[in-house]
Assembly symmetry: C2
Amino acid sequence: MRALTAKGAATRQRIVAGAALLMREHGPANVGLDDIRAATATSKSQLFHYFADGKADLLLAVATYEAEQVLAEQQPMLGDLTSWPKWEAWRLRVIERYDAQRQKCPLTALTAQLGMANPAVREIITDLYERWHAHIAAGVRALRESGEIGAGVDADDAATEILTAITGGATLLQATDRISYLEVSLRQAIDGLRRPPE
Amino acid sequence: MRALTAKGAATRQRIVAGAALLMREHGPANVGLDDIRAATATSKSQLFHYFADGKADLLLAVATYEAEQVLAEQQPMLGDLTSWPKWEAWRLRVIERYDAQRQKCPLTALTAQLGMANPAVREIITDLYERWHAHIAAGVRALRESGEIGAGVDADDAATEILTAITGGATLLQATDRISYLEVSLRQAIDGLRRPPE
């Protein structure tokens, strides 16, 4: 992406947010460039200026935006997992978010549309998981440093356990429309932190 | 599906297995009815006899078949999780299976093609998860009954934790091409059985 002025970046962001909203409502496959132009009051030349490759460019930009939303919707809790009550507040937020979303994950719809074989898509998703994992691992370390959990807990492994509990629970939610898998998996994974190692 | 004679069922199964092989190799979107007829030496009228709705019917039959394969590839271990060595053998089989498959999950390709909004697809996937969960829960109960793990372990919750560790690890494998998430999540989830409850 070329460097943008502050005004240019704001315009681009406005188009992306508008496109994201349309795609959440109608599905990425059913939203055309004309719909986006109309909804965001953008001219053809403006759209081309920011997204030279047209819809493929815009889909990637919306996927990046939606990946940001996944983390943003867990904040401020996710960035401050420094005590049990804060972990509990985060856990409830995660459940609430997936319960509201159910089978309509905007990011899944976008990656299905773009295809996971697309390296740019993989980079967006890999980056999301890495940042998500880093936040959780920082929270595990905070508990360890304050003596709330054992000194022997491996923060990165524990964070992987918790993150896969979420993605696995979300995968089963998408397939079965039941949130109980996610509720149980996340609770179990977090409770696992409290248990002493064997 | 109408009732089939034994011979009819065998023919149908032969077509489905042949179609599954083609779809694994070329992707479900790139396999036509003519390819399947050629590969399985089936006439048009035979194909129509078993799959009246054509490709949509066949895709569902292949999805059912591939869902069976997911469990079959974990046998005989999955059906006999009665001791720690057997759990360990199963764990290794699961990792081996996903490591071989990597990002090429045949069932994911089929469900993407058919769409998770399709109730028949959802039923296939929900049924797969329920049977998978039941096998794991039976294994947890076996450990509990032989005193290998605490009497207080909830078998269904523990099975959910282990199943979501697999689906979550597999989701991250598909997105990132890294198997380490799955290795860690499954090991942690199984180790969790050994830890006494808080």
